[in-house]
């Protein structure tokens, strides 16, 4: 087989990249994924989309992505409902430091057109009546943030890309990238050999390993983040509720169930995606403390998935001087799902050498050569 580009990873980033390349006229695109569709980080994520960030770059990426999500159902011509719900994210501050940071965040977000508002605890309670505001100092709320079904959003991109001629191979593991004289020659999988001179690394949790296959060192690692889901109940909560200080995000999805997650600062840097009782205990305590009526809900399932973490918690998108023809979209640090539209738009522009409005050098892997110049994203659970 021959291909103009091989994309490694068929999660949300990979399908978005494939769709955008095909839409801009590229032919002969192949996507390989060693798992079933959304078997990796995409299918394990918290299903939220937000624009409330502390770095300008993340704000810009998120806004452009939400702009796409608003028209995704129509543009992709998908036959199922991607379950896009814009009922906001409510982020609560429980420390003075957070309160001061949120003040700055709102100014930054407003400056790029994100309609975030700073709220008093009582105003927050009007939006989420069952919120326990005892420790809440203030909150920020952006009504255009929301929820999307990660499986169906991926499937929507997949169908649209397939109609444009992209070839997908799931459960087909890439084993080797053959490089000769500084150029990519071939991608070898379990069953195929593909001649190509372009590879896109969209391998999510395995981005570092895929880089190494081509001799490219990418400064990312993976760690396990766990989530639980409850039985579905009648709708009581519109927005996603987040607290960075309390280490929780929690939303009620359109299906009726509550999805919630938190991070473990002692998580090992590896590919563990198991789910254990320590998470369950801490998660339930935190959730019931902040949203007391949830205590009556039954927990039905729990799982884990990989965050692929970059040094500044912002994605790495672009090419590299380490190897011609090698592109990467990784290190999303837990936010690859919500940034997928802009990821596909930007990397397709970079590959096809088209102009772009985004300051792409700020997302380039070379920014870490001088870390002082990059902003560190603090708004991460």
């Amino acid at each position: 087989m021959k291909a103009n580009v091989v994309i490694i990873g068929g999660g949300i980033s990979g399908v978005s990249i494939a769709y955008n390349l095909a839409k801009k006229g590229m032919k002969n695109i192949i996507v390989f994924d060693d798992n079933y569709m959304t078997g990796g980080a995409t299918g394990r994520c918290g299903a939220g989309v937000r624009q409330q960030w502390a770095t300008k770059m993340n704000c810009v990426l998120a806004k452009q992505s939400v702009d796409f999500f608003e028209r995704a159902q129509e543009e992709l011509g998908y036959h199922r409902d991607v379950e896009f719900k814009q009922e906001g994210y409510l982020i609560v501050a429980t420390t003075l430091k957070e309160d001061a940071q949120f003040e700055k965040n709102v100014t930054l977000q407003n400056s790029v057109g994100i309609p975030t508002k700073k709220l008093t605890p009582l105003e927050a309670k009007e939006i989420v009546p069952h919120l326990n505001i005892e420790e809440v100092i203030s909150a920020t709320y952006c009504k255009t943030d929301g929820h999307l079904n990660p499986f169906l959003m991926t499937d929507a991109y997949y169908h649209a890309a397939k109609r444009l001629g992209v070839k997908f191979f799931y459960q087909e593991k890439v084993n080797e990238i053959i490089v000769s004289k500084g150029k990519i020659k071939k991608v070898i999988t379990d069953n195929y050999e593909v001649e190509t001179n372009k590879v896109v690394n969209a391998a999510g949790g395995y981005a570092h390993e895929v880089g190494l296959m081509a001799g490219v060192e990418i400064p990312v690692y993976s760690e396990n983040h766990q989530i639980l889901v409850t039985e579905p109940v009648e709708k009581i909560q519109g927005p996603m509720v987040i607290s960075f200080s309390k280490n929780i995000y929690c939303q009620q999805v359109p299906h009726g169930s509550f999805i919630m997650g938190r991070s473990d600062k002692n998580a090992a840097h590896d590919h563990d995606i198991s789910s254990g009782h320590l998470f369950l205990d801490e998660m339930v305590k935190t959730a019931v403390d902040l949203l007391p009526p949830l205590q009556e809900l039954r927990v039905t399932r729990a799982w884990g998935g990989s965050y692929n973490i970059s040094p500044d918690r912002q994605p790495i998108i672009g090419d590299t001087d380490q190897l011609k023809g090698f592109y990467m979209a990784c290190g999303f640090s837990g936010h690859g799902f919500m940034f997928a539209p802009v990821t596909g738009e930007l990397i397709s522009d970079i590959i096809l050498d088209l102009p772009t409005d985004i300051e792409k050098e700020k997302l380039h892997i070379d920014r870490f050569k001088n870390m002082k110049e990059t902003d560190f994203e603090t708004s991460v659970v």
Binding site: Y36, M37, T38, G39, G43, R80, F151, L152, D155, Y170, Q171, T230, E231, H255, S275, L280, D281, V284, K285, A287, V288, L294, Q295, E296, L297, R298, V299, T300, R301, A302, W303
Partner: protein, 93 residues
Amino acid sequence: MNKDNVIICRCEDVSLKDLHDVLNEGYSDFETIKRILRVGMGPCQGNSCGLLVQREIAKFTKTPLNEVKLQKVRPLITGVKMKSIIEALEDES
């Protein structure tokens, strides 16, 4: 037999027609079908629908039944109220 009236997954209210529709779209492994239709994601985690879905996949793809992988079963084994989890924690300490 009206396939719309044959319920495969009681937790998530998925009919035989829904299942045949995704098989006709080309999806043939349990995990992908689970993510699209939610079969096996309800409180029973596939204890009711699992074998039915497996049989339909086997028939459709003409694969021996024992070669069709079942869905991954996740913790918890059964639904537990959050307040029971908290009470159990308090008993421990």
